[in-house]
C-alpha cells in the first residue's frame, strides 16, 4: 500500500516535470539551471572577487530570466568558499556537483584551486568558466573539454605589460613571484615577453612564499642589482604590501620602475592611487572604459554598494555567456552546452570581439594596457586608469600554434 502510494507520487511528479520541460522546450536537470560560484569568500582575494562575484552572477541570472520568459524562476546561483586552497576547492566542487546538482562552476580565483576544481568537474562532465584564476595551464597542458578560460590569463598579462614596459625603455628586469601555480606561470610568461622585446633579466627571478607580508629582502636586492624595472607577479594583498614597501624603500627615486603582473582596482584603492601612479598594467576591462561599461557598473554599484572590479564584471559576462549557451542548446547537459559554446562569437559590455576558441577553450577578447593616473588627474572617485593601448582579441592571447592543449 505504502509502496503503491509512493510510486503514484513519483509518477505524478515525473509527469509534471515532463510537462514543464515540454512547455519551455528545454531539458533541464532537476528543472533548474544551477550556477555554482566557487570563490574566495573570506581570504586575500575576497574583495576583488568573492561576494561581489556572487552578486554579479546573481545579476546575470536575474537579467537572463527577465529577458527569456521560458527560463523564469529557473536559474539559481550558489556561492561557495574555497579558501584559495586546492584541496578545499576540489572537495567543494565535488560536493556542489553531487549534492547541490550544480550545472556549471564559475569564477575560481587562485590558479591552484582553479586547476583542481577543473579536474573534478571534468570527471563529472560539468562545464567550468574560470574567470579570476590566471594560469595558462588551464588552456594548455591541463586543459580539458569542459573547462573554459574567461577574461584574462598570464600570457595576456605578460604579453601586454611585459612588452609595453620593455618597449618604453624598461629593458632590464628583476622579477619576484609568489611561489604557487599562478606566480610560477606568470613569471615564465613575463620573462619570455621581456626577452622577446629585447629586454633582459639582471638575475634569475626569486620565488617568495605565498602569502607573504615582508618583501624588504627582495627590495634591497633590487637596490643593489639596479635593474630598470622591479617586476612583481604578486596579487591582491601581497601586491599591496610589495608596492607599499617599494615606495617605503624609495626605489622609484633610485630610478627603479615598477612592473606589475596582475593588478585589480581594489589593490589600487587599498593603497591609494599615488602609490601606483605611472605603473603599467594589462586589464580585460575597467568600469569607466566607455558608456556601456559605465551603465552596467552603475547598476552593479546600486546592487552591491561598490564599483565592480574587472573580475566581478567578468563573472557577470561569463555567467550570461553560459546561460545563453544553455538557451541555444536547449539543455543544461554539460556536453550539449560545451558544444554550444565552442566557436561562439559575441560582444557584450565586458568582452569585445570575443571568440570561444574550440581548440583550447580560451575565450579571447580585446584587452587594454593601462597606466595608473596620479590622484590629482582623477576626474571622479575610482577614476584610476588611462588607456595606453588596446590589444585586439586575436593578438592578446597565446597564439594557437603555441597552444599545447589536446582534448
Amino acid at each position: 500500500m505504502k509502496k503503491a502510494r509512493l510510486t503514484a507520487i513519483i509518477a505524478t511528479a515525473a509527469l509534471f516535470s515532463v510537462t514543464a520541460v515540454l512547455a519551455q522546450g528545454a531539458k533541464l536537470s532537476d528543472n533548474a539551471i544551477k550556477v555554482g560560484v566557487l570563490t574566495d569568500l573570506s581570504g586575500v582575494y575576497s574583495e576583488l572577487s568573492g561576494p561581489g562575484s556572487v552578486k554579479a552572477a546573481q545579476m546575470a541570472a536575474d537579467d537572463f530570466m527577465a529577458a527569456n520568459a521560458a527560463y523564469k524562476g529557473k536559474v539559481q546561483v550558489i556561492g561557495v568558499d574555497h579558501q584559495n586552497k586546492a584541496d578545499v576547492a576540489s572537495n567543494k566542487a565535488a560536493e556542489m556537483i553531487d549534492r547541490q546538482n550544480v550545472d556549471v562552476l564559475m569564477d575560481l580565483p587562485t590558479s591552484s584551486a582553479a586547476l583542481s576544481a577543473s579536474e573534478v568537474a571534468k570527471g563529472k562532465k560539468i562545464p567550468v568558466m574560470v574567470v579570476t584564476g590566471g594560469t595558462t595551464a588551464l588552456t594548455n597542458e591541463k586543459c580539458n573539454k569542459y573547462t573554459f578560460h574567461y577574461a584574462y590569463d598570464n600570457y595576456m598579462l605578460a604579453n601586454g605589460t611585459g612588452s609595453a614596459v620593455t618597449k618604453r625603455g624598461g629593458n632590464s628586469w628583476y622579477i619576484i613571484y609568489p611561489n604557487y601555480a599562478f606566480g610560477q606561470d606568470l613569471d615564465r610568461q613575463m620573462t619570455a615577453a621581456v626577452k622577446e622585446n629585447g629586454g633582459k633579466l639582471v638575475t634569475a627571478s626569486d620565488a617568495t612564499p605565498f602569502p607573504n607580508t615582508d618583501f624588504s629582502s627582495y627590495l634591497l636586492k633590487a637596490q643593489s642589482l639596479k635593474p630598470k624595472i622591479f617586476g612583481t607577479m604578486q596579487a591582491g594583498n601581497d601586491l599591496v604590501n610589495v608596492v607599499k614597501q617599494y615606495n617605503e624603500f624609495g626605489l622609484k627615486k633610485q630610478g627603479i620602475g615598477l612592473g606589475i603582473g596582475l593588478l585589480f582596482e581594489t589593490d589600487v584603492a587599498a593603497l591609494g592611487q599615488d602609490a601606483f601612479a605611472g605603473a603599467l598594467a594589462t586589464v580585460p576591462w575597467y568600469w569607466n572604459l566607455d558608456q556601456r561599461s559605465r551603465d552596467w557598473s552603475a547598476k552593479f554599484e546600486k546592487a552591491f554598494g561598490k564599483k565592480p572590479t574587472w573580475a566581478q564584471a567578468g563573472v557577470y559576462s561569463a555567467t550570461t555567456t553560459y546561460l545563453q549557451a544553455v538557451a541555444r542548446a536547449k539543455s543544461d547537459n554539460g556536453d550539449a552546452v560545451v558544444k554550444a559554446l565552442e566557436g561562439h562569437r559575441f560582444s557584450d559590455f565586458f568582452a569585445r570581439s570575443a571568440y570561444v576558441r574550440p581548440q583550447d577553450h580560451r575565450v579571447t577578447l580585446d584587452v587594454y594596457t593601462v597606466q595608473v593616473k596620479p590622484k590629482a588627474q582623477a576626474k571622479e572617485a575610482g577614476d584610476i586608469f588611462t588607456k595606453v593601448a588596446t590589444i585586439p582579441s586575436a593578438k592578446a592571447f597565446t597564439p594557437l600554434a603555441e597552444v599545447k592543449c589536446k582534448f
Binding site: 602569502p211 624603500f249 584603492a269
Partner: protein, 296 residues
C-alpha cells in the same frame, strides 16, 4: 651572493627581528608570570594595528597619538578578557586556555573583517608613515627607510626597559613572587589577582604596540597576525619558555637569520626558524635561555 648583500640582509633582519622580539617578549611575560599560553597574541597585534587605523579614520588621529593610545586600548581589552574569561581557567590544564585563546583569535579576526568591510569598505587598509620618519637614509652600505630604523631603536628601548623592570626592580620581585607562591605573597598584603591582571595587560599592550609599529610597513588586514604568531611561538620556544632575555635575543637573532636565509636561498626563509627550533630542542630541550623545569 656578495658580502655587501649579506651585510644588508643582516641589517634588514633586525627589523623583522624587532617585531619577533616585541611579540615574544609579551608572550614570555605572560607565560613566565601567569603560565598562560596566549594564542591570541597575533590577533591582539592585529588589533593594535587596526585600532591605530580606526582612530585615524574616526578621529583623524595621527601615528604619534596612536602609538600611545592603541597599546593602552589593547592592553585594557586584554585585562578585561583576563578578568572575565581567562581567570576562570587558572588551575585547569593548559589546553583549556589554548582552546579559549584560539577561539577568541578566530572571533576577533572575523569581527575586524566585518567592521573593516562595513565601515571602511576595505579588506586591507593603508596607513601612512608619519612625515618626520618618511624617506630614506643613506647608511653607506645601504639606503634604508628612516621609519624602519626608528622601529629597531624603539623596540630595543622597550625590550631593555621591560627586562629591567621584571628582573631588577621591586615591582618585578612582587610579580615574580605573586606567581611563584600566591599564598605567601597574599600574606604580605599584596593583591595577587590585581597584579596578574596588570601583567597580562602589559604583555598584551606590547603586542598592541608591535601592531601600531607594523601598520605603516605592512597593510592593515584582519589576518596579519596569523602568520606572524607561528614564528613568534617558535622564537619563544627557541629562547626558552618564559625567559625574558631569551625572547629578546632570540627574536632579533631569528629575524636576522631568516633575512640572510632569504637572500641565500629564498624558499628556505620561512622554514629556517623551524629547523632552528628542532635543532635547539634536540640539544637543549628547555631552550637556549630556559632553565630546566623544577630549578626555577
Amino acid at each position: 651572493m656578495n658580502t655587501q648583500l649579506l651585510l644588508i640582509q643582516v641589517f634588514n633582519g633586525l627589523v623583522n627581528g624587532a617585531f619577533y622580539a616585541l611579540l615574544s617578549l609579551g608572550l614570555a611575560v605572560i607565560f613566565g608570570m601567569l603560565r598562560i599560553v596566549n594564542f591570541m597574541h597575533g590577533a591582539l597585534y592585529m588589533l593594535g594595528a587596526f585600532t591605530a587605523f580606526a582612530l585615524g579614520q574616526a578621529f583623524g588621529l595621527g601615528f604619534w597619538p596612536a602609538l600611545i593610545l592603541a597599546p593602552l586600548i589593547v592592553g585594557a581589552l586584554g585585562m578585561l578578557l583576563e578578568r572575565t574569561l581567562l581567570s576562570r581557567l587558572y588551575g585547569l590544564e593548559p589546553s583549556y586556555n589554548l582552546l579559549l585563546t584560539f577561539g577568541l583569535t578566530l572571533l576577533t579576526q572575523d569581527l575586524v573583517k566585518q567592521v573593516m568591510l562595513s565601515q571602511f569598505a576595505v579588506s586591507s587598509a593603508p596607513y601612512t608613515t608619519p612625515d618626520v620618519l618618511t624617506g630614506v637614509v643613506n647608511l653607506g652600505f645601504v639606503v634604508f627607510p628612516k621609519y624602519r630604523l626608528f622601529v629597531i631603536a624603539l623596540t630595543l628601548v622597550i625590550c631593555l626597559v621591560t627586562w629591567f623592570v621584571v628582573e631588577k626592580t621591586r615591582v618585578g620581585a612582587i610579580i615574580r613572587a605573586s606567581t611563584e607562591n600566591p599564598g605567601v605573597t597574599r600574606a604580605f598584603g599584596i593583591d595577587v589577582s590585581k597584579w596578574v591582571t596588570g601583567v597580562f595587560g602589559v604583555g598584551v599592550g606590547l603586542a598592541g604596540l608591535a601592531g601600531v609599529l607594523a601598520a605603516p610597513i605592512y597593510s592593515v588586514e584582519p589576518y596579519m597576525g596569523a602568520e606572524l604568531i607561528i614564528t613568534t611561538f617558535a622564537v619563544v620556544v627557541i629562547g626558552g619558555l618564559g625567559s625574558i632575555l631569551g625572547s629578546i635575543v632570540t627574536g632579533f637573532a631569528v629575524g636576522v637569520l631568516a633575512a640572510v636565509g632569504a637572500a641565500v636561498y629564498p624558499p628556505i626563509a620561512n622554514t629556517l626558524v623551524f629547523i632552528l627550533m628542532a635543532v635547539v630542542l634536540l640539544v637543549r630541550p628547555s631552550g637556549l635561555f630556559g632553565l630546566p623545569e623544577g630549578t626555577r
